[in-house]
Amino acid sequence: MSMIDDKIPDALPRRRFDWEFFSCMPLAARIGLGIILLNVVMVFMAIFGLTPYGETEIFRDLGNWAPPSAEHWLGSDQIGRDMLSRIIYGAATTIGIALSATLLSFTMGILMGFTAAVMGGLADNVLSRIVDALMAIPTLILALVVISVLGTEIYILVLVIAVLDSTRVFRLSRAIAMDVAVMEFVEAARLRGEGLWWIMRREILPNTIMPLIAEFGLRFSFAFLFIAALSFLGLGVQPPHADWGGMVRENSQVISYGIAAPLYPAAAIALLTIGVNLVVDYILARQNRSAAAAFEEQEL
């Protein structure tokens, strides 16, 4: 070794898991994480039936749109069902649909995106052109067109949202993978003779995890808002299933009489999206900061 070698960074113990991610969280991100956990709890309450009342249980003596009370914390809905219980059941439906759509769209999007990035050439061209064409039409409009023919079965909704959403996942994962694929360690793997699958799984994926997690959050909140909007328009989940968008719609006419009923499910939707976005914002900020720090080190 040369007599005077260059500066060696401090040796850190190797970390497989990044605890700093949680320990350095600012308040906003902690609140976001709390909101997400709350929603997870609600989903499990709905799955195991741990709600105050049943999903379709009607309380005739309570009447429609009863105000909040000790027994019914959020009052009743348009046909006298317990609002809180409906919201908890709605969590399972709405989040369930959004989550399955996101998972599906992610699997499709990442597979296509990575393939396009690594293979390039014809495969990339064909996939990119198809995605361009689909993205030229506003998502909501295209979804409406398709739903007008296919109807509003839940599996169709999941499929439609997943396919439309996978175009954005495709774009992003392709771009991220391209950034990584031009790096010389990928070229080194290629020169070594490694196969496509190994390169995608071992060289590219580990270096794209964080941006992909952030994107997963964004895609989820998009799918979630989307299914809520469809249900709100009466084109999503159909009654009597509890679902947040649909509940806003069903209770919407009383807003003119100053009754807040539709605001509860709407607030539930807003709250979860805010929670997810707060956490995503933190992940993105972390990346930018580390990128900015790396840049500054070079400049000085």
């Binding site: 906003a28 361009d132 064409a133 689909l134 030229a136 039409i137 506003p138 909501l140 409009i141 295209l142 409406l144 067109v145 398709v146 739903i147 007008s148 023919v149 296919l150 109807g151 909140s221 808002l225 809520a228 909007a229 709100f232 328009l233 009466g234 084109l235 806003v248 919407s252 807003i255 003119s256 009489y257 100053g258 807040a260 539709p262 605001l263 709407a266 607030a267 939707i269 807003a270 999206t273 805010i274 997810v276 976005n277 707060l278 914002d281």
Partner: protein
């Protein structure tokens, strides 16, 4: 550069054509039968056959596509299945309403967003900047109907300042319509300002961090002059882009807002028609929305080509 512009234009036309194919295919080739979809529970073999004949579904798809597109180009948007009247007659008034609403919203949102974005960028890192970035994050997370109902609940019902329904009709003139437009326009504004502002802020900051701004500072140029003469020419094209992309977003965001305020625009018409399975109306509305969207995107690209000094002054 002319070459590049023409290519972009050609691409736009190509895209429109592909879009028309997708919309047509989406309604006619997907594995749902339009005729049974329309009739639903009441479908019998006889009336299904009748509907098929009426819609011309017995002809091959490519012929139907050509006659559909041909009609569309001549302003014939087909017949509505539910009202049995030409779609074109019904859509005119609604299209006007939708564009009016989007325009009012844009007139409030665009100047507001750019000003806030500029201030946040110049005061980067201050309390104002952080406050803005948190509140825009919240605003992005809120669904349009939530904002809409909140506004109705407080402004229309509790304060009683404005009507909660925006049911305009053809006999009203602009001044009669305006009070009805305020709440829906405000809803759209709140949703789109957040996006536009964030993007403006990011664009300005990236330009202000570039070495040529540092160079101007080292040349002893005054701060306001650096912003106006060095930053602005470079930031103009991203901002124009951001504005146009958000206009495209407004045109689509209008769908939900129209339903919230029962505003008789194209969005509400399209949603109604989807639930009634009125396929010709859905196709027509879909294609019009998509055309506006594609057109705005193309305009954004063309303007950014025009604004690029490297392309304007080739070597």
């Amino acid at each position: 550069m002319l070459n590049l512009l023409l290519r972009r234009l050609a691409l736009g036309v190509m895209t429109l054509w592909v879009v028309s194919v997708i919309i047509f295919a989406g309604t006619e080739i997907l594995p749902g039968d339009v005729a049974t979809a329309i009739l639903g529970q009441t479908a019998t073999p006889e009336n299904t056959a009748a509907i098929r004949a009426q819609l011309g579904l017995n002809e091959p798809p490519h012929e139907r596509y050509i006659s559909w597109l041909g009609g569309f180009l001549q302003g014939d948007l087909g017949m509505s299945l539910t009202s049995r009247r030409p779609v074109a007659d019904q859509i005119g008034f609604r299209l006007e309403n939708t564009l009016l609403l989007a325009a009012v919203a844009a007139m409030i949102a665009v100047p507001l967003a750019i000003c806030l974005g500029l201030v946040a960028a110049i005061r980067q890192g201050t309390v104002f900047d952080r406050g803005i970035s948190v509140s825009t994050l919240l605003a992005i997370s809120l669904p349009e109907f939530f904002i809409g109902y909140i506004l109705i609940f407080f402004v229309a019902v509790h304060l009683g300042w404005l009507p909660s329904m925006s049911n305009v009709n053809a006999r009203m003139d602009l001044w009669d319509k305006l009070p009805l437009l305020i709440l829906p326009a405000l809803t759209l504004t709140l949703v789109s300002v957040a996006h536009m502002m964030r993007m403006t802020r990011a664009a300005v900051i990236s330009v202000m961090n570039s070495p040529y701004i540092e160079m101007a500072e080292l040349k002893g140029i005054r701060n306001w002059r650096i912003v106006v003469q060095h930053a602005l020419p470079n930031v103009l094209s991203p901002i124009i882009n951001i504005v146009i992309l958000n206009l495209a977003y407004l045109v689509v965001g209008v769908v939900v807002v129209e339903v919230v305020f029962t505003y008789p625009g194209m969005g509400q018409y399209m949603v109604d028609s989807v639930s009634k399975r009125d396929v010709p109306v859905v196709q027509a509305c879909g294609l019009i929305f998509a055309t506006v969207y594609v057109g705005l995107n193309m305009t954004a690209d063309i303007l950014s080509i025009l604004a690029n000094p490297r392309l304007r002054h080739p070597k």
